[in-house]
């Protein structure tokens, strides 16, 4: 149901922006269509590799590795493990957040859980190889990931500083 809603909003947006483009004149519109179609032909095989690849990579990551790395009172080493676990978590937001919620309930420290959630948002391998790498220039993706590296640690540090919610 929510997937259907997402698709409706998505195509309505495409239609809206498409109409806006059409008002700039036919050549502009045709040019935009051509650009979109070329991108699609370029991107679709990469998404295919990403989708198929993500399934296999997810299958070889042991689930215990991710749940086990979010233990209680693990300090900065725990933050590092949580960051790696966040990047290695397969699947969509349901899995990522559910693992975080379970970890919180079973006694993991909140700085570690926040590092996990932030690392998942920044580096989740599935989103990166399925969407970011196919659509963005490769050098941008690696640069973006490298620049983002300090942030799970910064989030944990801020969480330690201002305390639990």
């Amino acid at each position: 149901m929510s997937a259907l809603l997402v698709d409706i909003v998505l195509w309505a947006t495409v239609l809206g922006v498409g109409l806006l483009t059409f008002r700039h004149g036919r050549p502009v519109f045709q040019d935009a269509l051509k650009r979109g179609a070329t991108d699609f032909i370029d991107v679709a095989p990469r998404v295919a590799i990403g989708v198929i690849g993500a399934g296999f990579i997810a299958a070889i990551i042991p689930p215990e590795f991710i749940t086990g790395s979010l233990g209680p009172d693990t300090g900065w080493f725990g933050v590092l493990m949580a960051t790696i676990a966040g990047a290695a978590t397969p699947g969509g937001p349901v899995i990522g957040f559910s693992l975080g919620a379970v970890a919180l309930k079973s006694g993991a420290g909140s700085p570690q859980v926040i590092a996990y959630v932030v690392a998942w948002a920044l580096f989740a391998f599935q989103r990166m190889i399925l969407w970011e790498i196919p659509f963005m220039p490769a050098r941008f993706v690696w640069f973006r990931a490298a620049v983002s590296l300090p942030f799970p640690f910064l989030a944990a540090a801020l969480a330690m500083l201002i305390g639990k919610p």
Binding site: W11, V14, A37, I57, F135, M136, P137, A155, I162
Partner: protein, 167 residues
């Protein structure tokens, strides 16, 4: 991309060694289904990117999101990422389009990081119900400065490694 292909090949080999041909085929079938499901969204994202690249005036984009756009450019990028609707199939094509028509790495990083960290879509539909309101608000509050910091760091590093990076 070569790195990804190698990584995938190794994973397939490991799955094959553990679960045999049947195991490989099971994963392949479900992945192919998923691919068929998301392909229309990929098309929508590409069209959206194409339209945006054609409609937005390039000189204005490079002025307000380009290398010399300062803090204001990073703030615009971050704000745009936070309010952008849809999922990865809209965020990345739009980011890519902006990059192509004059936005610099800094502003684009601010946008992408803002979309993943403080975008309202994921927070409302997934984080809030699963993690609870306290954690979500606390996490977003802590994440609030990060898109700007990431964009500023990106811009700072990029101008220093640009020569080596572009060659």
């Amino acid at each position: 991309m070569i790195f990804i292909v190698v990584l995938v090949a190794v994973s397939v080999a490991l799955v094959w060694r553990r679960d045999g041909t049947q195991g490989v085929l099971t994963i392949l079938y479900s992945d192919l289904w998923l691919f068929a499901e998301i392909l229309p969204r990929v098309l929508a994202g590409c069209l959206l990117g194409g339209f945006i690249a054609s409609v937005l005036p390039h000189d204005k984009v490079s002025k307000s999101l380009g290398p010399n756009s300062g803090l204001k450019g990073l703030l615009i990028g971050a704000a745009f990422g936070a309010i952008l609707p849809g999922g990865p199939f809209t965020a990345y094509p739009v980011a890519s389009a902006l990059l192509a028509i004059g936005a610099d790495f800094g502003a684009t990083i601010a946008m992408v990081v803002s979309w993943t960290l403080i975008g309202y879509g994921r927070a409302i539909s997934w984080e809030l119900p699963i993690m609870g309101a306290d954690f979500t608000l606390w996490r977003i509050l802590i994440s609030l400065p990060m898109p700007i910091l990431a964009g500023a760091l990106g811009r700072f590093v990029y101008v220093r490694v640009k020569e080596r990076f572009d060659s």
